[in-house]
C-alpha cells in the first residue's frame, strides 16, 4: 500500500522541483508554449516503472498513471535513463545510449532537453520549503554524507576488485592464454610428425 503513495509523494516533490526550477530560470508561458499538450513517457524497464511528463501552459506535470498517448517514448534501464538525464546538462550531447530505445517525435525530446538544460533545479530548496529549515538541513546533510560514503565505498570496492584480479591473474586461464598454448601444442605435434618422417627416411636410406 505504501509504495504507491510514496511514489505519489516523490513524483509530487519532483514536480515541485521542476516548477521551482522553471521559476528560477524565469521561463514564461511564451517559452513553454511550443510544448503545451506534449507528453513524454519514460519507461524504466528494470524497475517496471512508467513516468509521464505532461507539458502544461505554466508548468510541467509528472504522473505515474497512464496518460493514454505519448508524443515521444523513452524506454530503457535505469542506468541508461540516468545517462540521458546527466547528458541534459552538457551542451550538444547525444541522445543515444546503450539499452535506450526512443520512439516518436525526437523533435519534442530535443526541445524538452533544451528546456531542461535551462532549468535551475534546486532540490534542496524544495525540501527546505516542504520540511522547514532544520529537518531539511538534517536530511540534506544525511543524504550528502551518505552519497560521499557511497562514492568512497564504490571507489574502494573497485580498487580492491582490480587489485584482486591483477594478483590472481597468473592463476587464471584467459582465452588468449589458452589459444596460445593450443597453438604451441599443435606446432609441437607437427614438429614431432616431421621428425618422425625424417627418421623414417634416414632409416630407409641406411637399409
Amino acid at each position: 500500500m505504501m509504495p504507491r503513495l510514496f511514489l505519489a509523494g516523490l513524483v509530487s516533490a519532483s514536480e515541485s522541483a521542476i516548477a521551482a526550477g522553471m521559476r528560477a530560470a524565469q521561463l514564461t508561458p511564451e517559452d513553454l508554449a511550443p510544448m503545451v499538450g506534449k507528453v513524454l513517457r519514460l519507461q524504466v524497464t528494470d524497475l517496471d516503472l512508467d513516468l509521464w511528463i505532461v507539458c502544461g501552459e505554466k508548468r510541467w506535470w509528472l504522473s505515474t498513471e497512464s496518460q493514454e498517448h505519448a508524443d515521444v517514448e523513452l524506454s530503457g534501464t535505469l542506468g541508461s535513463l540516468v545517462e540521458i538525464a546527466r547528458s541534459i546538462t552538457k551542451p550538444d550531447s547525444p541522445l543515444i545510449f546503450d539499452g535506450l530505445d526512443i520512439r516518436g517525435s525526437v523533435g519534442v525530446l530535443q526541445t524538452m532537453q533544451s528546456m531542461f538544460r535551462s532549468l535551475e533545479l534546486d532540490w534542496e530548496d524544495v525540501v527546505t520549503r516542504a520540511l522547514g529549515p532544520i529537518p531539511a538541513g538534517l536530511l540534506i546533510k544525511t543524504l550528502r554524507t551518505a552519497r560521499e560514503q557511497w562514492l568512497i565505498s564504490r571507489a574502494s570496492l573497485q580498487r580492491q576488485a582490480e587489485d584482486f584480479v591483477r594478483s590472481e591473474q597468473t592463476l587464471a586461464v584467459t582465452d588468449s592464454l589458452f589459444s596460445g598454448h593450443a597453438n604451441a601444442v599443435t606446432q609441437l605435434d607437427r614438429n614431432i610428425d616431421r621428425l618422425a618422417a625424417r627418421i623414417k627416411r634416414l632409416e630407409s636410406r641406411d637399409e
Partner: protein, 247 residues
C-alpha cells in the same frame, strides 16, 4: 409502503436522505478541509493526487467534478487543463460550494472554473459534454448511486474517462480492525473536539461501511455502461480509485 434507503446505519425514506446529507455537510462545511487533514493525517492530498494523475488531464479539456465540495480536486485539474480548459464544480450543497468558491478566490485560481448547484442523479448538462467526469468522496452520499453513475456516463464524451474516488474496504483483516476502531472511536471524538459535531462524523464512518466495496462498485460502473472499468486500492484499500472509460 415508502421506499427507504440507508443514512449511515439508519433506514430513512428516500426523499429524506438528500435533506439529511445536506444537513451534515452544512454543518461541517467550514471545517471540512481541516478535518480531512486531521482525519487522514494529510493522506487525502495524496489520494487526490493519484486521482488527478489517473484522470490524465490535458490542456483544453472540459471537466466536471461532482460533489466538488471545497474544490481541491477541481482546482488541481483546472491547473492542468490550463486557460483553454474548463472545470465545472458541481455539488448539491450550496454551503460547500460557497466555501469552495471562497477558496478559489483566495488562491487567485478562477481561470476556467465555474460552479453549479445540482443533484448528481439529474445532471443539467447535455449528452457528451465533458472529457473527464470525477466524483471524490461523494458517491457514498448519493441516494441512487446507479442513477448518478448513469448520468456521469451520459455527460461523458466518447473516449472520456470517469473517476470515482471513494472510501472502500481494507484488503487485510488486521488493517480492517484498526480502521474500525479508528472510525468509530477516534473519528467522532475528533469531530466533537475540532468541529463540535460528533454526529456528522459518526455518520461519515457509518456511510463508509454502507458504501459498496471495490468489486461491487466496479459492477455498478459496468452496469452504467462504462468500459474497461478498473480500480486501484490506496492505503490498503481504505480508499479506492475506480476508472471507467466511455468508448
Amino acid at each position: 409502503m415508502k421506499e427507504t434507503t440507508h443514512f449511515g446505519y439508519k433506514e430513512v425514506p428516500v426523499e429524506e436522505k438528500t435533506y439529511r446529507v445536506r444537513e451534515v455537510f452544512n454543518s461541517v462545511a467550514r471545517r471540512y478541509d481541516v478535518m480531512n487533514d486531521l482525519m487522514s493525517a494529510g493522506m487525502h492530498r495524496l489520494w487526490k493526487r493519484v486521482t488527478v494523475e489517473t484522470a490524465a488531464v490535458r490542456p483544453g479539456m472540459q471537466i466536471l467534478d461532482l460533489a466538488s465540495g471545497t474544490g481541491d480536486l477541481a482546482r488541481a485539474m483546472a491547473r492542468r487543463a490550463g486557460s483553454t480548459g474548463r472545470v465545472c464544480l458541481a455539488d448539491i450543497n450550496d454551503q460547500m460550494l460557497r466555501v469552495g468558491r471562497d477558496r478559489a478566490i483566495d488562491a487567485g485560481e478562477l481561470t476556467g472554473l465555474s460552479w453549479c448547484q445540482c443533484d448528481a442523479e439529474v445532471l443539467p448538462f447535455a449528452d457528451a459534454t465533458f472529457d473527464r467526469v470525477t466524483i471524490g468522496f461523494g458517491l457514498r452520499n448519493v441516494t441512487r448511486k446507479e442513477l448518478a453513475l448513469s448520468e456521469m456516463y451520459r455527460v461523458l464524451k466518447p473516449g472520456g474517462r470517469a473517476l470515482v474516488l471513494e472510501f472502500s474496504k481494507p484488503t487485510s483483516a488486521p488493517l480492517e480492525q484498526i480502521y474500525d476502531l479508528y472510525s468509530f472511536s477516534v473519528l467522532p471524538t475528533l469531530g466533537k473536539v475540532v468541529a463540535n459535531d460528533a454526529e456528522s462524523y459518526q455518520y461519515l464512518a457509518e456511510s463508509i461501511r454502507k458504501h459498496p466495496d471495490q468489486e461491487t462498485l466496479k459492477s455498478l460502473m459496468e452496469t452504467a455502461g462504462f468500459d474497461s472499468v478498473s480500480y486501484q486500492n490506496l492505503t490498503g484499500g481504505i480508499v479506492a480509485v475506480h476508472l471507467g472509460m466511455k468508448s
